[in-house]
């Protein structure tokens, strides 16, 4: 049942060295938890642990790994993995209301706290920073060319900023942070891609509403005072919510806002001439 790597987790420590030449390799008697990662769960005042392989638990949780044997070192529940102390039946029964080890293991795997492996961490951080860069690239444009930056450019600029990725915050929040810093540091000319909106407001209230929303608008492309006040404008995406609120409130729901484009970019290929 036990796999080779963890034989010394449980076995009694036997000193093979006594009486032998020290040149000969002998299994050492100290416990080396090199390929073991422990998932812990505190329940019913007790701490339960399972011994897993490194870099595997997150995959299990993500449904990428489906073979339990590829995750667990052994299908046993411990009280302390490093000491090799097994959990006893009564404690398990008391905490989990069952004695089915497999069920208990699954629960511990699902809910327990775990050590994130090195590779998992690098992958996670790498993915997250790519995600941040992609988000930044999606949200921003190069004001000179009116086109987005490539993700690799943003990544370089992030490296330039010495931006450190925080694994506990989501990509979007951090992306906004990056944009702010990029704009401050001016490493590359960057601007938020603007949203193009059409705002239609019934005639009488047009003027009043216009004054209210003019502070939220970045630039006006076209406006028309007909039976209905109509405005085509660019705004910062961050102001969208505020703008809709103002328009709805002021016109009591009769004003209309239509998103013409989420990102106002030049979407053509241009040959140099």
């Amino acid at each position: 049942m036990l796999k080779k790597e963890c034989w010394n987790l449980l076995g009694p420590s036997i000193d093979y060295r006594s009486g032998m030449s020290s040149n000969i390799f002998t299994p050492v008697n100290q416990v080396r938890l090199t390929n073991v990662s422990v998932v812990r769960l505190k329940k019913g005042g007790k701490r339960f642990e399972v011994a897993c392989y490194k870099n595997k638990v997150l995959e299990w949780r993500n449904n990428v790994e489906t073979d339990l044997d590829n995750v667990l070192q052994t299908r046993t529940v411990f009280v302390n993995v490093s000491k090799g102390q097994l959990a006893n039946k009564e404690d398990l029964n008391k905490a989990f209301k069952t004695t089915d080890t497999d069920k208990i293991i699954l629960e511990i795997l699902r809910k327990g706290e775990l050590q994130v492996g090195e590779k998992e961490r690098t992958q996670q951080l790498g993915n997250l920073s790519r995600d941040i860069a992609t988000t930044v690239a999606e949200k921003c444009i190069n004001p000179d060319t009116k086109r987005p930056y490539t993700v690799t450019m943003i990544e370089k600029a992030m490296a330039d900023l010495h931006f450190s990725v925080n694994p506990n915050r989501n990509a979007k929040q951090q992306a906004l942070e990056v944009i702010k810093q990029l704009q401050e540091k001016q490493t590359i000319p960057i601007a938020r891609a603007q949203m193009r909106l059409r705002v239609a407001i019934p005639g009488k209230e047009g003027k009043r509403v216009k004054e209210k929303i003019s502070s939220l608008i970045e630039s006006t492309e076209d406006e028309d005072w007909g039976d209905e006040y109509e405005l085509i404008c660019l705004i910062n995406p961050g102001q969208f919510r505020a703008l809709t609120d103002v328009v709805q409130k002021e016109t009591k729901g009769r004003g209309q806002i239509e998103v013409l484009s989420i990102r106002d970019t030049d979407d053509r290929d241009e040959a140099f001439a």
Binding site: M153, N170, K172, V259
Partner: protein
């Protein structure tokens, strides 16, 4: 020979009969630059000892390192014929000397630089086509011959590297003769194919014209006999190379010798007592000299006697003997005897030299000097500009061959054409010059370097002074009036003109200089662009002003593609050096400075706007190697862009694009060309470190007509949910009831306020294709600000056509479920992504109606909408409201929430559309745009809103966006999803022998052959195929390597094609499991592409970090 002075060349430029413009063309490594070296040595530009070693015209560092030429460069040579050799016997006047100016252009031979060959041959009247005597005819030989043929350039064949036949192949003289004869035949065969091809084309054209005529007249009278195949009638003998015609030179550029048989004919005429004329005819070919009768025999006259052909006996044997005695046996005495017999002077130092090769060169270059025989041939065989222009220009002016009679033209036009046909250099004719390429020279190469920099410096200084003054003026203005700041601009101008005369020049120079300053900052101060040009008529002078006509210029529209430029500098091209000129008369090749702002790659310069453009240079090989460039340091973007702009101008073949994705992509002719471009960018144009990567390949996402495999749905459903959007978690997918049709998704907010049901349906391919084609029309309709009646009409027309396409699809049995598509067009809500894409949002909400798409979609059409339809629409809206929400409204009144408005679908129109646009912009597979999917919005209900708080309701419009996005994505995944690959259509031309290899390369890269055709009159096949863009990186290089350069592909983007593999497919049935195993041995291609994109974007990739958990390193790294 003493060095030729500048003045001598300038004086020669004036006489067009004494000018020859030639270029040297050949396969790579056949000795072009070495040959030109020898010619340069004759002018004293380089030492004759060094000729063939320095490769003077390879002025770039990388050219010298690699030993190949990468650009064409021009040089003007002086040549003097002293006619005493020929005429001394009769006239005794030994010093009848003719001086000639030969403008020589050396061109690169590598296939990547064939564009340079095109630009060079455009400017020339004749070409020296070199063929390596050992390697024979190679692929590029073929190409350059074709180029010469197309540009109507008179070719002269040079069989180079004869010495290798002796020293390397160790052929006997007879064998060498047979070998040379074979090469000659090959070259002539190629010329023959060009000839027959063009004749057949002409015949075809004539036949078509005839057919047209016949169908016009419709007379029963058949005139078949009038069609005569011209091929059989025309004499093509002048076309071919033949030593007795004098257009074949035998040479060894490295040893510095060359000869034509005329030379030997002259020598032997006296010795053998045979007339020179006759001897010239029989010295090449199957002719033998009877040793007894001293008569020339044909092959029949041999009667079995083992005689050598005369060429071998009198020409090759001598060479062989000399090489043998100097190089092989090193027989001093014999050498001395030969030297004496040849009557050449060899320095004793050379005689004693251990380096026998040097001795050989010393002897040979005096006996048969390369420069004189080559230049003599050039002067004899290649027409002078006047003659050549008469032949070549009609073809350039009328590429389609429809040259009108001179008499039929207008007065000025006739004058213009006669001037350029006759190469008239007088001042009263229009000046016409053609710039075939721009090349950049570092400023320190320019003769006027110092002065130029000074003026630039001065100008900057002046500008600075002017700006300072203006600013002072502004600040003064500030103190006086408040308005001055706002009107600072006006103030600026005022002060500029009001200030002293010192600022005056700055203002005056404005038009020429100021536009350049913003886009070309520091770098061009060190790199100057010079136009490589030829003047066809008139005389061009410094200070004159000309019209610059772009390649697309048409005299019928004189305002477009035209600008005026004042000639700042004229240069005589001397390889890497330039010498300044005051004027250049017609017929010369020269350099023009100061065109940087006006000419992109090529242009026509003329004193009259009536001059047609001479067109762009026809590039035989379109550039196909694509890469994306980025600066290593992100803040150097500006330098990169400036550098790219310069590169684009300076390289005739490169193409530079700024793509939708924000990438800067350059397209080169080949890997070598790419390398050169990058080197230029790094070291000269941009001067920054550049990172090169394969360009981003676009994909599309679509659905097949099969429902998704149920097994994979659950994990995917989880996977697909993007956690990036916090709103995502707010909407909760509900289980799709089994009774609903495939591709239906219901999404509800967690507070159960709003429920949306969306159904995805694959569009018939016909409709998708139509929408894809019509994106421009849609854009026009959508973006048109002022929708007039006609435009609405166009919108209606578009919709009508769309309906027709649906009907057609139904007729062709593409649509099975007619019910589904009934009235779809009428209920059309939007297209997506970007409001013009090939996906539909259809309003199927019962009881809710919208106005037709083209009315509501146009962004600015609200005006017309409100004007024309608002009453009806209002009514509809009210109706809908009533039917949907009457009861709720009453309730709300009872509740006392009088202020609260009734939420209904109309208020969320914008959000729904936005959600749809988002979903179609980034599909669930790899966040790439969707294509060919229709989303039917079937339900949109808001329940229990009266209990909801104000905050909840105000959040709802945002939530609807993300809900709809999720609903669309889920519905999309209800079908079995497919990736669509961007495809290139790939046109290949390849000779039959490499067809197999071409197919192998195409197959490996998942190409698909569409057709294969033989091209009439040539040994080539035309192969049409489709190639996925993802697989095309490095394709050009591979195919050239595999086919030794014989096949040259051309790639054109041609849309998207479905890759019919489900990216989520895993073996499930027993057979599949048995065949492929649990992990599916073969990689799922669609999955591979999908994960590639996901990885690039930082999305979650379903891949194990560690495949075998127990095999990880168990020991610590110490």
């Amino acid at each position: 020979m003493p060095a030729i002075t500048h003045a001598q060349l300038v004086s020669l430029q004036k006489d067009q009969h004494k000018i020859r413009n030639i270029c040297i063309l050949a396969h790579v490594d056949h000795g072009k630059t070495t040959l030109s070296d020898s010619l340069l040595a004759s002018n004293g530009i380089i030492s004759s000892k060094l000729s063939g070693k320095v490769r003077y015209l390879d002025s770039r560092e990388d050219e010298q390192q690699r030993g190949i030429t990468m650009k064409s460069s021009g040089i003007s040579l002086y040549f003097k014929i002293v006619k005493n050799l020929i005429d001394s016997a009769k006239q005794e006047s030994s010093t009848v000397a003719d001086e000639y100016l030969v403008n020589l252009i050396d061109s690169p031979g590598h296939v990547d630089f064939s564009s340079e060959v095109s630009t060079a041959s455009r400017l020339c009247d004749g070409a020296l086509v070199l063929v390596d005597a050992v390697e024979g005819v190679c692929t590029q030989t073929h190409t350059v011959l074709r180029q010469a043929w197309m540009e109507n350039v008179r070719p002269v064949l040079v069989l180079n590297k004869i010495d290798r036949l002796i020293t390397e192949l160790k052929l006997t003289s007879s064998e060498a003769y047979i070998h040379l004869n074979k090469i000659l035949e090959q070259v002539n065969a190629i010329m023959g194919t060009f000839y027959s091809e063009s004749m057949m084309q002409e015949d075809a054209a004539r036949y078509e014209a005839y057919q047209a005529k016949r169908s016009m007249t419709k007379h029963g009278k058949e005139e078949e006999e009038e069609i005569e195949w011209r091929l059989e009638h025309q004499d093509d003998s002048t076309l071919y190379f033949s030593p007795d015609q004098g257009n074949v030179i035998f040479s060894s550029a490295i040893d510095g010798w060359a000869f034509r048989i005329e030379q030997f004919a002259q020598i032997y005429a006296a010795k053998l007592g045979i007339k020179e004329e006759l001897l010239r005819r029989v010295l090449w070919g199957d002719y033998y000299l009877d040793p007894k009768t001293k008569r020339v025999l044909g092959h029949k006259g041999l009667k079995g006697r083992p005689l050598k052909p005369m060429f071998v006996q009198f020409v090759l044997d001598n060479l062989w003997a000399l090489y043998d005695s100097v190089l092989e046996t090193n027989d001093r005495e014999k050498v001395e005897k030969i030297v004496k017999a040849l009557n050449v002077k060899v320095l004793p130092r050379d005689m004693r030299s251990k380096d026998s090769r040097a001795l050989l060169q010393a002897i040979m270059s005096q006996w048969l000097p390369l420069s004189s025989s080559v230049l003599l041939t050039v002067i004899e065989k290649i027409p002078s500009p006047g003659v050549a222009q008469n032949l070549r220009l009609p073809k350039i002016l009328y590429p389609k061959g429809n040259q009108p009679e001179l008499a039929s033209l207008s007065e000025s036009r006739r004058a213009f054409e006669t001037a350029i046909y006759n190469c008239d250099r007088s001042d009263d004719v229009p000046v016409v010059a053609y710039v075939s390429k721009m090349f950049s020279v570092s400023a320190d190469m320019l003769p006027t370097n110092r002065r130029v920099q000074l003026t630039a410096e001065e100008m900057r200084e002046r500008r600075r002074a002017a700006i300072a003054k203006q600013q002072a003026a502004i600040s003064k203005g500030e103190t006086t009036s408040d308005k001055a700041v706002e009107s600072g601009h006006i103030q600026l101008d005022d002060s500029g003109s009001a200030e002293s005369a010192e600022t005056g020049p700055v203002v005056l120079q404005g038009p020429t200089d100021t536009p350049s300053t913003p886009e070309v900052p520091e770098a061009p101060a060190e790199e100057t662009l010079i136009g490589f040009a030829r003047i066809y008529s008139g005389t061009i002078r410094v200070g004159q002003t000309f019209q610059v006509l772009g390649p697309k210029y048409d005299p019928a529209f004189p305002t477009r593609h035209r600008s005026a430029v004042t000639i700042e500098k004229l240069y005589l091209m001397m390889g890497r050096e330039l010498q300044e000129l005051k004027e250049v008369p017609a017929g010369n090749v020269f350099g023009i400075g100061g065109l940087g702002q006006h000419v992109l790659k090529s242009a026509t310069l003329s004193s009259t706007a009536e001059c047609p453009s001479f067109g762009g240079v026809r590039a035989d090989a379109a550039p196909i190697v694509r890469v994306a460039l980025e600066p290593r340091e992100p803040n150097q973007m500006g330098q990169l862009i400036d550098g790219l702009r310069l590169l684009n101008q300076a390289d005739p073949c490169v193409e530079v694009y700024l793509q939708e994705t924000g990438e800067h992509v350059i397209v080169c002719a080949g890997e070598l060309h790419l390398e050169r471009c990058l080197k230029d960018l790094r070291e000269r144009f941009a001067k920054i470190d550049i990172q090169v990567s394969p360009p981003i390949v676009p994909f599309r996402e679509t659905v097949s007509t099969f429902p998704a495999i149920p097994l994979t749905l659950t994990p995917n459903g989880q996977k697909v949910e993007d956690s990036t959007d916090p709103l995502d978690s707010a909407s909760r997918p509900t289980e799709v009831a089994t009774s609903l049709p495939t591709g239906t998704a219901i999404v509800q907010t967690p507070d159960k306020l709003c429920t949306i049901r969306v159904r995805a349906v694959p569009l018939p391919s016909r409709v998708t294709a139509y929408l894809e084609n019509q994106s421009k029309t849609m854009r026009n309709i959508v973006e048109e600000r002022d929708v007039s009646v006609e435009q609405e009409g166009s919108g209606a027309a578009f919709i009508r056509k769309l309906k027709d396409v649906f009907d057609e699809a139904y007729r062709e049995n593409e649509i099975k479920d007619k019910e589904l598509w009934n009235g779809v067009v009428e209920r059309l809500w939007a297209f997506g992504p970007k409001r013009i894409g090939p996906n539909l949002l259809v309003n199927n909400v019962p009881g809710y109606e919208r106005s037709p798409w083209f009315r509501s979609a146009a962004s600015g059409s609200g005006r017309s909408r409100t004007r024309s339809d608002s009453p009806t629409e209002e009514d509809e809206g009210v109706d809908a409201e009533e039917t949907l929400n009457t009861s709720i409204e009453e309730l709300s009144l009872d509740d006392g929430h009088i202020e609260r408005r009734v939420p209904n679908i109309r208020h969320y129109e914008g959000s729904i559309n936005a959600g749809f646009q988002l979903a179609t912009l980034q599909g669930p597979l790899a966040a790439e745009p969707m294509m060919g999917v229709a989303f039917l919005l079937e339900e949109f209900t808001i329940e229990g809103w009266q209990e909801a708080s104000e905050a909840q309701l105000s959040l709802l419009s945002g939530r609807v966006i993300s809900m709809l996005k999720d609903a669309c994505r889920q519905a999309f995944l209800g079908w079995s999803p497919r990736l669509m690959l961007a495809m290139y259509s790939c046109d290949l031309q390849a000779p039959a022998e490499v067809l197999g290899k071409v197919y192998a390369v195409l197959a490996r890269r998942r190409g698909r052959i569409l057709s294969e055709e033989m091209r009439e009159g040539t040994p080539f096949f035309n192969i049409k195929s489709m190639l996925p863009v993802v697989e095309s990186f490095g394709f050009a290089d591979e195919i050239r390597k595999r086919t030794s350069g014989a096949a040259s592909p051309q790639l054109i983007f041609s849309g998207f094609e479905v890759l019919d593999i489900d990216p989520f497919w895993v073996p499930t049935t027993e057979e599949e499991l048995e065949d492929l195993g649990e992990k599916a041995d073969r990689e799922n291609l669609a999955k591979k592409y999908m994960e590639g994109v996901r990885k690039r974007k930082g999305l979650l990739v379903e891949k194990k970090i560690v495949e075998h958990a127990e095999k990880q390193r168990t020991l610590k790294i110490k």
